[in-house]
Amino acid sequence: MTIMTGGRMRGMKSAAVNTGTWLLNKLLRLLLLLAALSVITFWMMSLSPIDPVQAYIGAETMRVGPAQREAIAEYWGLYDPMHERFTRWLSAMLSGDMGTSMIYRAPVAEVIGEKVKHSLALMCVSWLITGISGFLIGVVAGMNKGRWIDRILTWYCYAIASTPAFWLGLLLLAVFAVWLGWFPVGMGVPAGVPAYEVTLADRLHHMILPALTLSLIGLAPIALHTREKLIGVLDSEYVTYARARGERGFALVRRHGLRNIALPALTLQFTSFGELFGGAVIAEQVFSYPGLGQAAVDAGLKGDIPLLMGIVLCSAVFVFVGNTVADLLYRFVDPRMRRKGGAES
């Protein structure tokens, strides 16, 4: 059993080479994408009517005279032509300097690095909850197609798909934080406690409601998708045959259905990174959770161009990673795809 035939060996080798070139191809695509995004975003930002100097000065308008404004604009090079400004930004970017955030008065890379930890924790937790519970709901609904439990679950999924994330957040806030008082009303850590005294339990306590909001919102697509797929599988001829042999209930689904529906569900979960990020932006805003999404909204409101640029590029990388993992999963988990890839060479 351990002996491999020559043909299979060759096949695997060529598959590995294929994967290598495939990854390289993906990397090139990512670079091209980021380059295009930077050019487009940079160009768009220069069209904005919001004056960056005014945004920078903010509330201290009275104390900054026109001469000082000129000096700031001169210092930033706002009067230089756009392509010059862009090359300057790009060369700084390539050497690892993403610029300085105006609202946080700190390097963008530092701000993003600090915020991304909170956001990633939030998104990871709700991603897992969404995936597992959505899949389970889909399986239960699909197995009981047409019965009351299926109707209730499908109805719930459609209702939640028409619910704005921020309203769901407000509801949870009203019930669990204000009315019952089980959870804090917002923020990532307790107020008035020095940073070194904040425990992991505190952070988790503050994360539960935003994570719950995100999970409840993201549940619908995966559950409905899994339900459809399972119904398709259960209608197939091999399942009819299995039924004729006497298989029934969950054992039947486990043996003939789960593998077939697990991969598409997993792929869907990975390609939904964009929605997840959008949901996180809103959840963070409702719960004043100090993550990347809140920083994005602040940057948009206050005209913090370097930070907004950084976040746009970051979110693009995030979505790209999700899509690439989904593709990879198909290549590695589904043997049919691999064989097709090997046949090309």
Binding site: L171, V178, V312, S315
Partner: protein, 283 residues
């Protein structure tokens, strides 16, 4: 029982289904029109600040209660919903026009055009919708234009892909090939032969885009990047409600939000039912 064969029964069931779909569509449309109409006709007097009536919970006189200025929340919500529906309509219209143009160009314009459109689709899908919306709102300096442009630019890729695939199928259909052999130009074929076939798909895509457009409008306004605070928009109402939540004024958040969910669901049902009617085989 009634002497009909199996085929007859299926026919009857299908006809009932179609009737029910048509009825649902009419009901949805009427409700939505009613909301827009009420929002437009609503009495502005009830929006005036009346301090003696402030902070009232929902009652028979004020269905959704009143806010901290004594404004009638029900009227505010109606106005907000009407605004949301109009903005969603504009955004979805822009988006579906872009989608139709992109899909047709990709399918009929040759290889280079196809590649460019595919690349554009990938580009627009590469950044989360909400981040793009924030970016565009910033670029337009906030306000109505920002939202409509933002929704228009973010929602087209899915529909464009669908229409492109449909148009590619049509391209290999005999009547299109014959038309091309007869010397019709690409443009003529795209407009005369393909557009009429794509119209139902396009309409369904447009209707199904609607709920998303409204939800995104509300979200971006809620974040403070959309409509200005003077305008009665659902996003604004809920943003204000957030600040009064800890004072125990739950009705400010719950009633307008529930109304929004109801409207969005109505649009969802409308789209699904129209699809059932237009493409009974596929859905």
């Amino acid at each position: 029982m009634n002497g009909l064969g199996a085929k007859g029964r299926v026919f009857l069931r299908e006809r009932n289904m179609r009737r029910r779909s048509a009825a649902m569509i009419v009901i949805c449309l009427m409700l939505l029109f009613a909301v827009v109409l009420c929002g437009a006709l609503a009495d502005d007097e009830r929006l005036a600040a009346r301090p003696e009536l402030r902070n009232q919970p929902p009652s028979a006189a004020f269905w959704f209660g009143t806010d901290w200025l004594g404004r009638d929340m029900f009227v505010r919500t109606l106005k907000g919903l009407a605004t949301s529906i109009q903005v969603g309509l504009a955004g979805a219209a822009v988006s579906s026009l872009i989608a139709a143009a992109a899909g047709l160009i990709a399918a009929t314009g040759g290889k280079t055009a196809d590649r460019i459109v595919s690349w554009l689709i990938d580009l627009f899908l590469s950044v989360p919708h909400l981040v793009t919306l924030i970016l565009i709102a910033f670029v337009c300096g906030g306000g109505l234009t920002g939202i409509v442009v933002g929704i228009g630019l973010t929602h087209w890729p899915g529909l464009a892909r669908l229409l492109r695939a449909e148009a590619l199928q049509l391209k290999s259909a005999p009547f299109v090939q014959v038309s091309a052999k007869l010397g019709r130009s690409k443009y003529w074929i795209a407009v005369r032969h393909m557009l009429p076939h794509l119209a139902p798909q396009w309409l369904i895509g447009f209707l199904l885009m609607f709920p998303h457009a409204i939800l995104h409008e509300a979200s971006i306004t809620f974040l403070g990047l959309g409509l200005s605070p003077h305008e009665p928009a659902i996003g604004i109402i809920l943003n204000e409600a957030m600040r009064y939540l800890s004072n125990g004024m739950w009705w400010l958040a719950i009633c307008p939000g529930a109304a929004l969910v109801f409207i969005v669901r109505l649009f969802g049902i409308l789209g699904e039912r129209v699809r059932l009617l237009a493409e009974p085989k596929r859905s």
